[in-house]
């Protein structure tokens, strides 16, 4: 084996330990690729399942975009692929609602929660904190298989008579609570609830594992404040999940009782066909409170891992320390805390007390502060950096762009008075697709491009990566930016054919424009799929540390081995952002390099000294001005 861990004295024993690893664990196909308890394999399982779900969700969006753009045209291929739901080449209205619902559910939960957190928390937490594996590898495996089962149940709802759930991804009662309300409220809704129950179990097992691992299994020297920001982001994300998902579970339990046992938690005074239902005393608003108590933290569960990944990629590829490391941690903490006290901003138009509304408005607008801190820190990190535009870096910068664009419209929607006008219009669709859809998926793609060498030991094709980036970036803006104007005009979301209304007819050409942009964007993803899957087998072999990065995962051998490091786990001496440190030999110093080896670049701050530099004495410290002048002399001599 050609690869050896950098500055790892035990690396010579690598082959030896590796072979024994095989003997010891009796790796069979089943426990290596299927029921694996290895965090790296589980990360790959999450990623590939997430990609498949993302493709399904994307195809759905193209189908309903076609309906929106050409509501009167017949597309015979729809009947071919959808059968009775595309009868006569026209999309069935009920099926349209199902597509919108399942698109939202898949993208929010299956791709950007499980696909993103599941992949990168599993891959990076043990690697970057220096652990052999997760706190409970068995629970980790269960977490993946619950997720897989949830995905199968969710997709299976497309193969039943009445079709999948169609009440929107927020499944508000009474549509979701009365099986007779619409076709999708029957078996489809039951499957949706079953799938989500499995999903919640999966998320909780994953999240509990991530928190326990980060707090208990860091390697020697890896104090909390030496952790890369990726780990901080995954850590806070897991905390959010552990606190928020049980509440969704309670909402779902009460909903199941209402649906199947006839209780009245959410139902009251409902008439179907002129006949009153027996349910009395329930409150549909109660469901919204419970749902959004999860639902709002959920959007941060989606975006925070992407922000963490971006911090790492931007610092690495700017060859600069991240600007404001502690400010980044505190802003993540602030977002985590605030996300639990803003759920009411989804409910401004439910007849909420205006005073309570103003409280929620206040807390909502405060979230702009930590978000802006993060944005400015990204920009300050880029500022005068020695930027390398790898595909991962392009996507990370793309995230910053979307985070700003979408964040600004969040300020509009957070205002209760403006929200009354904009609620349930395309303005909302534009806002959350940009800030949590595009930004989070860009973070995820950035992560895939950046850690692909670590995941598969191969390199992706850069040229295809750039093309993929520009097609995705441009088409995403072309799709979602115009929707703001539609929303300002009052165009309602979720409508099958809103261009039938006289006042919205003028938007038909724009709808066609958006759909064409969406199709181009979707075609761009084929490049990614090709690049991703083909290079697993045919890609160029990756070097051990392709991006000259500081974090611990790049000290492990390219070939995955059980336990990650062949010898001892490396000890950590410094934070992970020593890029372009003045006086250093290279423009990066990995975390496991001790200060005794970097005397020329050490600063008094490295030893916790913040006073007068000239007074500082330490065996591994060399007064800086001397070093610099020596170098300058040498330069002049040359």
């Amino acid at each position: 084996m050609a690869t050896q861990a950098i500055s790892n004295p035990a690396a010579v024993h690598h082959d030896h330990a590796h072979d024994h690893g095989h003997e010891h664990h009796h790796e069979t196909f089943l426990n290596k690729y299927v029921f694996s308890q290895d965090h790296k394999m589980i990360a790959k399982q999450f990623l590939i399942t997430g990609i498949i779900m993302a493709v399904i969700g994307m195809v759905f969006s193209i189908l309903f975009r076609i309906q929106l753009a050409w509501p009167d045209k017949e597309f015979p291929f729809l009947e071919v692929i959808l059968g009775k739901w595309g009868a006569g080449g026209r999309l069935d209205p009920n099926f349209y609602l199902s597509l919108v619902t399942i698109h939202g559910t898949i993208m929010v939960f299956f791709v950007l929660t499980a696909g993103l957190s599941g992949t990168f928390s599993n891959l990076l937490i043990p690697y970057q904190i220096g652990a052999r594996d997760m706190a409970s590898p068995f629970m980790n495996m269960l977490s993946y298989w619950f997720f897989f089962a949830a995905s199968v149940v969710m997709c299976s709802s497309f193969f039943i008579q009445t079709g999948p759930a169609s009440g929107g991804w927020t499944i508000y009662p009474p549509l979701s609570a009365l099986p007779k309300a619409m076709p999708g409220s029957g078996l489809g809704m039951t499957l949706w609830l079953a799938s989500m129950a499995l999903f919640i179990a999966s998320s909780l097992m994953g999240g509990i594992n991530y928190i326990s691992t980060v707090l208990n299994m860091r390697t020697k020297g890896m104090s909390m404040t030496k952790m890369p920001l990726t780990i901080w982001a995954f850590f806070f994300t897991a905390i959010l999940g552990v606190l928020a998902f049980p509440v969704l579970f309670s909402a779902v339990i009460l909903l199941i009782f209402d649906r199947s046992f006839g209780t009245s938690f959410y139902l009251s005074d409902i008439f179907i066909g002129g006949e009153a239902l027996p349910n009395t005393g329930g409150s549909p608003i109660l469901f919204q409170h419970l749902f959004w108590f999860l639902g709002h933290p959920e959007v941060y569960i989606i975006i925070m891992p992407a922000l963490g990944i971006t911090s790492e990629i931007i610092a690495t590829n700017s060859r600069k320390p991240i600007f404001g490391y502690r400010a980044m941690i505190i802003s993540l903490l602030g977002i985590t805390f605030l996300s639990f006290i803003v759920w009411g901003h989804h409910m401004f138009v439910t007849g909420m007390n205006p005073f309570l509304g103003s409280v929620f408005m206040f807390t909502t607008l405060i979230i702009a502060v930590p978000s802006a801190v993060k944005t400015f820190n990204y920009l300050a990190t880029l500022w005068r950096g020695n930027i390398r535009f790898t595909p991962a870096m392009m996507f990370a910068v793309g995230l910053v762009s979307f985070f700003i664009t979408g964040g600004v419209t969040g300020l509009f929607l957070g205002n209760a008075s403006l929200d009354i006008n904009l609620h349930d219009t395309y303005f909302v669709v534009a806002h959350f697709h940009i800030v949590m859809g595009c930004a989070a998926i860009f973070g995820m793609l950035a992560g895939v491009y950046h850690w692909y060498p670590k995941l598969f030991g191969k390199m992706m094709n850069d040229k295809l990566g750039y093309l993929h980036f520009w097609m995705t970036f441009i088409s995403a803006y072309l799709v979602f930016f115009p929707m703001h104007f539609m929303g300002l005009d009052g165009v309602p979301r979720r409508y099958y054919e809103f261009t039938e209304f006289e006042q919205f007819k003028q938007w038909l050409p724009l709808n066609q424009f958006i759909t064409i942009a969406a199709i181009i964007g979707a075609l761009g993803q084929l490049l990614f799929l090709y690049n991703f899957f083909v290079n697993i087998f045919r890609g160029k072999k990756a070097p051990q540390n392709p991006w000259n990065s500081n974090t611990l995962e790049w000290t492990t051998p390219v070939e995955h081995i059980h336990g990650n490091w062949p010898g001892e786990i490396p000890t950590v001496y410094r934070w992970s952002y020593d890029y372009s440190k003045p006086g250093a030999v290279q423009d990066f110093i990995p975390q496991n390099v001790p200060f005794s080896e970097t005397i020329s670049s050490n600063t008094p701050e490295d030893f916790g000294y913040h006073g007068d530099e000239t007074q500082f004495v330490h065996e591994f410290y060399q007064a800086k001005h001397l070093t610099v002048s020596d170098e300058q002399k040498a330069e002049k001599a040359n």
Binding site: A10, H13, H16, A17, H20, G21, H24, R132, A135, S136, M139, L204, G207, I208, N209, I211, S212, T213, L215, N216, M217, V242, L243, A244, F245, P246, V247, F249, S250, A251, I253, L254, F257, F261, G262, T263, S264, F265, S268, T280, G281, G282, S283, I285, L286, H289, L290, F293, G563, P566, G567, E568, I569
Partner: protein
């Protein structure tokens, strides 16, 4: 086995206990959030009116007494196990187990008393909530009983003392949690019905 493999195995056994205990604490956090969601929903729903009042079943007093007593016997089991007094550990675990079953029986009687009062699961949410909350807690008791069975199985199979104490520790953390959880729920119901 090579030196490295041995070292990795040692690292494993050394490290595994603390994170696993922590996992239990995190699971308790999720339980608190679940029950917290139910009780907050109760308050929110009650504030909206149309709320049928009824008497809480008297037998809840008995349930409370049983579960508090079982916490003491659980602690007795833990102390005896730690002191290698396995006979006492077995007795205490069996008593705890019986008290747990007694608690479930008492809750069942409470439900029957509710039905006798014409408070059904289906009907005004004030009654439904009581069933859901006490039912969710009963599920936790069943989980706690599983922990107790694991402890009993361990002590009868004579597993290593480190593991025995570890199981006892997990079981008693969880058992005290469900005890405190019930006291919270009972006080909550007394104050809010």
């Amino acid at each position: 086995m090579s030196v490295e493999a041995v070292r990795m195995d040692q690292e494993k056994t050394k490290l595994n206990v603390r994170p696993k205990k922590f996992i239990l604490w995190l699971f308790i956090v999720t339980s608190i959030m679940l029950i917290g969601a139910f009780t907050s929903a109760y308050i929110v729903r009650k504030a909206e009116g149309n709320w049928v009042e009824f008497e809480l079943p008297k037998v809840f007093m008995l349930s409370t007494a049983l579960i508090v007593l079982s916490s003491f016997t659980m602690h007795w089991a833990y102390i005896s196990g730690k002191k290698l007094n396995f006979g006492a550990q077995k007795t205490a675990l069996w008593i705890t187990f019986a008290l747990g079953l007694g608690f479930l029986g008492s809750q069942w009687t409470a439900w029957q008393q509710l039905v006798a009062q014409k408070v059904f699961f289906i009907g005004n949410p004030s009654g439904s909530f009581l069933y859901v909350i006490s039912g969710a807690h009963a599920m936790h008791i069943i989980g706690g009983l599983v922990f107790l069975i694991a402890c009993l199985a361990g002590v009868y199979k004579n597993i290593p003392q480190v593991k025995n104490v570890f199981r006892l520790e997990l079981a008693s953390i969880f058992w005290h949690f469900i005890d405190i959880l019930w006291i919270y729920l009972y006080v909550f119901l007394l104050l809010n019905h």
